[in-house]
């Protein structure tokens, strides 16, 4: 049964449809995204599905179906119960905070009038929701970081952020599963492989998971 006031549709391109479930980041919109995403992935002629905070972009084969076909399919799927949604999991991510693994931890502390230990305590003390995966393979958009450790991005991004880096960018926090350029502040690193292309599934985290960070020291791994 649809809990949303209704779906809004935007023709994003000649082969994609943007389904809008809300205008703000809310748990209700998130739950609608979680419920609808697997149903859309299984729909005929759907090529790719990009869930986000309150929307789902669907890439489709334009020679097989039209935007109208996808809209009708989405409206119908929206009436179905959440049968394809896996149970949300609690995932613990071990993190070595600071030192070589977290070169920006001291700056984050200084910019927020805290000690590095306090930053770690606040970051690791919260529980985070994986709103969706995007940006790069397995990168989780996490909600729930306390604003007391929010820190502006670097003025110039690093050319290379090592894989596993745990970072803060503005009011958000996340983990870089693969090395990439990045402008977020690196406060630690996890030895967990969040993305392994030859594993099934290749990505460790799922949309809807609850994540906590657990401080560990080098000797623990």
């Amino acid at each position: 049964m649809s809990q949303s006031p209704g779906l809004r549709f935007v023709d994003a391109s000649d082969r994609s449809l943007l389904i809008v479930l809300g205008d703000e980041i809310t748990l209700a919109a998130h739950q609608d995204v979680v419920r609808l995403t697997p149903l859309l992935r299984a729909a005929p002629s759907v090529i790719n599905v990009h869930p986000a905070y309150a929307s789902i972009l669907v890439d489709f084969d334009p020679l097989a179906v039209t935007h109208g076909d996808l809209e009708r399919a989405a409206v119908e799927l929206d009436t179905r119960p959440a049968v394809l949604v896996p149970e949300p999991r609690m995932v613990e991510i071990p993190v070595r905070y600071g030192g070589e693994d977290g070169p920006d931890l001291e700056d984050v502390a200084a910019l927020n009038g805290l000690t590095p230990e306090q930053v770690v305590g606040i970051h690791a003390g919260a529980e985070y929701l994986v709103y969706f995966l995007g940006f790069s393979p397995g990168f989780p958009y996490l909600g729930g970081m306390p604003e007391s450790i929010a820190t502006p991005r670097l003025a110039a991004p690093r050319r290379r952020v090592p894989a596993g880096s745990v970072a803060i960018g503005g009011k958000q926090t996340g983990v870089y599963p693969v090395a990439s350029p990045g402008g977020w502040r690196i406060i630690g690193r996890t030895p967990l492989a969040l993305f392994q292309p030859d594993r099934d599934p290749p990505v460790l985290l799922r949309m809807g998971d609850h994540v906590t960070f657990v401080p560990v020291s080098k000797g623990d791994f």
Binding site: A12, D14, P51, Y141
Partner: protein, 294 residues
């Protein structure tokens, strides 16, 4: 190494990747007797010299790379023969397709290289001198027409692909088109910057300034014309991120995706609006052209 990419993983943040000019790759494979999406070599701006250990059948498509064998047709190669591909005379990409396909391990179902993450293809990287690639044995059409495309017909094919009509990319309106002066966008000229790559084509031109808008991060698709804070548009390309927070004024039509793969730094281009119906008709026509090749 490229093929038609790995769709189906965007919900995990994994972009489809694939050939920059998929139309040329598909044509080359059809001419070589392969399935359209067989793994092939993608060359950007400059090629290389390729020596074949055993006899082979190849087809070179895409832009004119001053190749040592004719393009846009199936060509027999003798054992020990070298096929040379020089610099792009115009356009940007050339494809070397080999009958049987090029046999690289598939990652998430595809031979496509995603350079940014070092995923797939040949060791996740660009090819280097000395690399030895195995040729596969999967042949879709053992009797492709011997004629292929030669001479003027071949020129016609390369004219069909790669070249923009009136130097304009046709676009449909993007999800945030009304934030901007769309008419001004279509009157402006933009230059392709040297910073362009498989992730995005960065353009330099009159800054696009939004007069509205707040948006959440949302999914983005191939060909989206994104406008970052500096107002210089970026056309999202094959290795684009799966989600983004910048407004999108327009989206290149599917039938013009091949032209994105043939843009060179310093090319000048404009944008021309197309309706969804026109876009679909142009794509259909393009598919008919492709399948009439063989």
């Amino acid at each position: 190494m490229q093929d038609l990419g790995r769709p189906g993983y965007a919900h995990l943040g994994i972009s489809a990747s694939g050939a920059a000019d998929a139309l040329s790759l598909r044509a080359g494979n059809l001419l070589a007797g392969n399935a359209e999406g067989a793994p092939a070599l993608e060359m950007t701006l400059a090629g290389g010299t390729f020596e074949f250990e055993a006899e082979a059948v190849v087809a070179l498509t895409g832009a004119d790379f001053e190749t040592s064998v004719s393009m846009w047709r199936a060509v027999d190669v003798r054992p020990g023969e070298q096929v040379r591909c020089g610099h792009a005379r115009s356009g940007a990409r050339c494809y070397l397709c080999v009958r049987g396909g090029i046999d690289v391990p598939l990652v998430l179902g595809s031979a496509s290289t995603h350079l940014l993450t070092g995923l797939g293809g040949w060791e996740g990287r660009a090819l280097r001198k000395g690399d030895v690639l195995p040729i596969g044995t999967t042949v879709e059409n053992p009797q492709p027409p011997a004629k292929g495309l030669s001479g003027r017909a071949g020129e016609g094919a390369s004219g069909r692909t790669g070249r923009l009509r009136h130097d304009a990319l046709r676009v449909t309106r993007g999800p945030q088109a009304e934030w901007f002066d769309f008419e001004a966008f279509c009157r402006a000229e933009y230059q392709v910057s040297e910073d362009s790559d498989r992730m995005g084509l960065r353009l330099r031109g009159p800054a696009l300034t939004p007069h509205a808008g707040h948006m959440l991060t949302e999914g983005v698709t191939l060909g989206a014309v994104q406008v970052p804070p500096d107002g210089q548009p970026i056309i999202l390309f094959v290795e684009h991120q799966t989600t983004g927070g910048y407004p999108k004024i327009a989206n290149v039509i599917s039938a013009d995706f091949h032209a994105l793969g043939q843009l060179r730094p310093r090319d000048i281009l404009r944008f021309e609006e197309a309706s969804m119906d026109a876009a679909r008709a142009l794509l259909r026509e393009q598919e008919e052209w492709l399948h009439a090749l063989v």
